[in-house]
Amino acid sequence: MKKLDYLDELEAEAIYILREVAGQFDKPALLFSGGKDSICLVHLALKAFRPGKFPFPLVHVDTGHNSPEVIEFRDNLVERLGEKLIARQVEDTIKVRKLQDGKGKFPSRNALQTYTLLDVIEEFEFDACIGGARRDEEKARAKERIFSVRDEFGQWDPKKQRPELWNIYNGKVDKGENVRVFPISNWTELDVWNYIKRENIELPSIYFTHERECVLTDAGQLMANNEFLSLDETDVIVTRKVRYRTVGDMTCTAAIESEAYTVDEIIAELKDSKISERGATRMDDRISEAAMEDRKKGGYF
């Protein structure tokens, strides 16, 4: 017997985890951002549950700072699959909870998403939330379990993680607590792209090169020029051929200069790339060494 190819092995592991969620929880949800990782999760869910329906809705926490292409892609996908989508707006949370919106030139709502996420978990009493986070993204993520138990405030306590052995997942929680589940924990960015290629998975157009008007930041990053930014006359606006390596709040997610027009070209580009996915695209992780650890402790994904 031949050993499975590594992509088959990663796929099998992810499907196994998705089915464990279906088997262990009463009210699971799949957090869907419209990014490549959560699109892969949807593809894996099709393999895990068809011809049945997904045993969970897709939940989108919308910062309101998404590019329209992503929202359109999301709506088309949901319609094509006939699955349920629950979308919640960070904008509404800000109003209801009287929160301070993001400030400054690039008013990110990345931190504010946590409020909306915790609210939607409470509203539907979700006991498990599946997410597309990967361990190769960031050091704190590299330490997190596949089944990551959160307390009733959504907090991650790295010192109280449950041991997780073999392929045995303990998703037992009390009412009010929930488990964040990461089926593609062991995938790298390149694995995701190789899988997208192999499975011929469709993605939002912003992943591929296109001309875009951008603001050149002091750190040399390219931020899409859009209505959410507060620019002044000193800002440099340039038009460049760019694509996104990651989809997120457009005020804190940078585009990268790229000529990659196809999945093959993206894979070639990534193999050459000297910069990590989060390093290339995220402004928020540059703030401090433990930024992600702190956000996770506060209930973030």
Partner: protein, 414 residues
């Protein structure tokens, strides 16, 4: 391309994190922005080298502050030959449970020995844990050879000491490599300082080492994770049992027995990704359809009628206790084996394994954090299993505290 999962055991003092850092660094798996951050940080840790490679793996604030590894960190890299997943596990006794966690899925163990100290209690502990977990291959990496002038005699002595000590253990394959993680000797490229060593460098070894396959286990085992019943008009009678083939293979038409119900039936159909297939193999996620409408639910095990597992309400196992709170006599527990879960109780504690000598000592009735004990468990429902030596998938389990929901122990049946 194949995937190799390995774990590294040792302390930062042994240069474990430095070794991993070196593997990632020299195989060009680290991005420049991360190197930049590290260079900045390294200046504050006071390590002499330009980059403190240990900072690559210690991801939590507490770990960076204390300069130790507390929990497992997973790291990924690939070469043209293989893709690798490293579970970087802590070495200190107090984090033994975290090491056990990281090691459970590994194909290979890398045990680090400081060339100056030779075999220590820690080396023994890590080897014994590898033995209990049945890790197919152990690589002893004798590190810091630069500090003993790259002497062959030092390496040879450690090699023979280790082989002597490990005789009573169940380690099937043991290899040795002399190295210096800090200087880069024998990590990625063969060392010029140790021309006497004719073996492969660590990376070459990892690329070429034979991986023991679950697929080599013949016994066909399948467990139901989830029952798919679309209940739509066109799929009104559809009832499929979703799960992964744990070991062996299943064919359409196979006569099978279901546990715990012990009903006998036939495989009517196997689906893989909605397409019907004639046969399914180890690790493949599939949906099985049975000819008879019998009691099958999550946790039910399906096996061929001519190759049965043990099915009892009792089992003997070696467990590692993982909870901060000690075992309370009569404690209510759940046992979980893959997707099968039932109530359980520890009936007898047959002994405590001294993880420095591998001796089975008489139990005083207590089970504390990081203890390895031989126990007998009784279960509420019949559990079907194989010995762990025979089958890692059906011979392993965890124990859950019914009250706190914590995973309190992990066990191997045997």
């Amino acid at each position: 391309m194949e995937l190799l999962r390995f774990f590294t055991a040792g302390n930062v003092d042994d240069g474990k994190s430095t070794l991993i850092g070196r593997l990632l660094f020299d195989s060009k798996s680290i991005s420049t922005d991360i190197i930049e951050t590290l260079t900045k940080q390294s200046k504050t840790t006071g390590v002499d080298a330009d980059i403190d490679l240990a900072l690559l793996t210690d991801g939590l604030r507490a770990e960076r502050e204390q300069g130790i590894t507390i929990d497992v960190a997973y790291k990924y890299f690939s070469t043209d030959k293989r893709k690798f997943i490293i579970a970087d596990t802590p070495g200190h006794t107090q984090y033994t449970r975290n090491m056990f966690t990281g090691a459970s899925n590994a194909d290979l163990a890398i045990i680090l020995v400081d060339a100056r100290n030779g075999i220590t209690d820690q080396t023994k502990r890590h080897s014994i844990i590898s033995s209990i977990l049945g890790i197919p291959h152990v690589l002893v990496c004798v590190n810091k050879m630069d500090l003993v002038d790259y002497k062959e005699s030092v390496f040879k002595q450690i090699e023979s000491d280790y082989l002597e000590f490990s005789k009573p253990l169940n380690l099937s394959k043991i290899s040795f490599i002399p190295a210096s993680a800090l200087a880069g000797d024998n990590v990625v490229t063969p060392s010029e300082n140790m021309a006497w060593f004719k073996g492969k460098s660590l990376l070459e070894f990892l690329e070429d080492v034979e991986i023991f396959e679950d697929t080599e286990i013949k016994d066909a085992r399948f467990q139901v994770q989830y029952v798919i019943r679309p209940q739509t008009q066109e799929l009104h009678d559809y009832r499929g049992y979703a799960g992964s083939v744990l070991s062996g293979s299943f064919k359409k038409g196979d006569q099978v027995k279901i546990f715990p119900s012990e009903a006998v039936t036939t495989i009517e159909k196997i689906e893989k990704n909605t397409i019907e297939v004639d046969e399914a193999f180890a690790n493949e996620p599939i949906i099985i359809h049975l000819t008879d409408d019998i009691d099958v639910s999550r946790g039910s095990t399906i096996v061929p009628v001519n190759d049965l597992p043990v099915a009892e309400k009792e089992l003997e196992a070696t467990i590692c206790w993982m909870d901060n709170s000690s075992y309370q006599s009569g404690q209510k527990l759940l046992i979980q084996q893959n997707s099968f879960r039932t109530k359980a109780a520890i009936k007898e504690i047959d002994g405590k394994i001294d993880i420095h000598s591998f001796e089975n000592k008489e139990s005083d009735g207590s089970i504390n954090l990081n203890d390895f004990c031989k126990i007998r468990i009784k279960t509420a429902e019949t559990i079907s299993y194989d010995s762990y030596r025979k089958n890692r998938k059906t011979g392993s389990f965890i124990l859950i505290n019914e009250n706190t929901n914590s995973t309190v122990a992990a066990g191997v049946i045997g």
